[in-house]
Symmetry: none
Subunit: 244 residues, 2 copies
DNA sequence: GAGTGGTCTAGACCACCTA
DNA sequence: AGGTGGTCTAGACCACTCC
């Protein structure tokens, strides 16, 4: 059956995480479904129970699975919680929620951004940035409108890449060796404008969840100004504040 | 030395979490400090290494501790906590924003909460909770509607306190010795209902920012279910996610 | 090489839920 | 009563960091 590979170099529990993720993605495990018991998984994959639990804990922390004492482990419901304490791209975010991301490019231009954005990106006077506006889909349904300005100082030629089917963060990492480190983002809510309503396929005035801010590289330089406008009826996220 | 009590009914790893939390709070462990190694803790508290690791994982997920392979476990630095939001009361939040908070009590009753909330507060079947509904003002203008359910298991008589002019978290701390540790909160947006619009003095259908979730004590027990409904035109907040 | 955290095993018993 | 997840043990070996 589905043996794991003890010499693949990757930990057994991570391999089980991947196997379960694949089943969640393929629909073999649907929201509300009960997983095989920990003891079943242990026999199926020929690993110890602690290792099974380690894998399930990973997916539980992501909100994919829910464990209920005495009953079993279940696939999490649709509108799932997911910590945004971690900075993820839209594609990563949707995949972790078990949905398939896609994009429609609306605009892609090298332009001089508004002064406020130019300042946050620390652009020189009149220095242009790469403007990318994309409509983001999850399982084919509009989820968010995404307007990004990228500072080109570190990634000349980014405009020439395929920006629809790839994660831009992946391109930055793999082609330019740039590592995203953190972001400073504001969270707010607003009513949909005529244009936003049309693109997101909601009624004019519908509530939207807006996340706007600046993304920084690990060298401390700003690389992106991001404005993400989510449909409030389809998107929420979780935060886990602590009291210090 | 600090023996744990195997018959206290509380899991050993939770007891170690508490012990470590106490040291973090007292300053015996300061940011940047290195913890004793897992093998040391294991001997000190006479528990197995897996149990030590279980406790450390709890605090690591809260961002209190940081484990570095081959080096050791350290108290989270200020930089590490960048990605984490501080959990503040409405009063603290407004004062930090330079505004003067005030409250109008709308409802204060001991009632049986909806099943979903009862479950999150881990109430017994039919066990009542303290419902507090307050309209929150900043500089005299309505800012948020706040609906809290407090589990009374740990704070009997809370209903008799002055809940309008004091921070409830202060009361929990000073009168009951309860320490708020963390929260799990969902962030979403919605349109104002007739009632919400009236109380918050906005038009029906106006966008609102909603933060809803559960607040936990440092012993891991849920103490409060919180639903805060903010005027989107007057409130936003920031997050500082990090890329792991 | 010594010490750290990371992974893994094969058991055990407890607490909870359903029936 | 039987099955589930929750906790715990006492080992083992690996991977990483520092000296």
């Amino acid at each position: 059956m589905p043996r794991l590979d003890p010499i693949s170099g990757s930990p057994l529990y991570q391999q089980l995480v991947q196997a379960l993720r694949a089943q969640l993605r393929s629909g073999a495990l649907k929201p509300g479904d009960q997983l095989p018991s920990e003891r079943d998984l242990m026999e199926t994959y020929h690993i110890s129970r602690n290792t099974v639990r380690q894998a399930i804990e990973v997916l539980e922390h992501e909100g994919q699975l829910e464990r209920i004492h005495g009953r079993g482990t279940f696939v999490g419901s649709a509108k799932l919680k997911l910590g945004l304490m971690r900075l993820t791209s839209f594609s990563e975010d949707m995949r972790e929620r078990g949905m398939e991301p896609s994009s429609r490019l609306i605009q892609c231009d090298v332009t001089t951004p508004p002064a406020a954005i130019a300042e946050q990106l620390r652009l020189l006077d009149g220095e242009p940035a790469l403007l990318i506006e994309r409509l983001r889909y999850a399982d084919g349904i509009p989820m968010a409108l995404n307007i990004s300005h990228f500072s080109q100082a570190y990634c000349p030629g980014l405009a020439g890449e395929d920006l629809v089917n790839q994660s831009i963060y992946d391109i930055l990492e793999k082609k330019y060796g740039l590592h995203i480190a953190r972001a400073e983002q504001a969270v707010r809510s607003a009513a949909a404008s005529v244009n936003e309503a049309m693109l997101l396929e909601v009624r004019y005035g519908s509530p939207l969840l807006i996340i706007e801010g600046v993304v920084y590289l690990d060298n401390g330089m700003p690389i992106e100004h991001l404005r993400s406008i989510y449909r409030a009826d389809r998107y929420e996220f979780t935060i886990n504040p602590i009291r210090s």
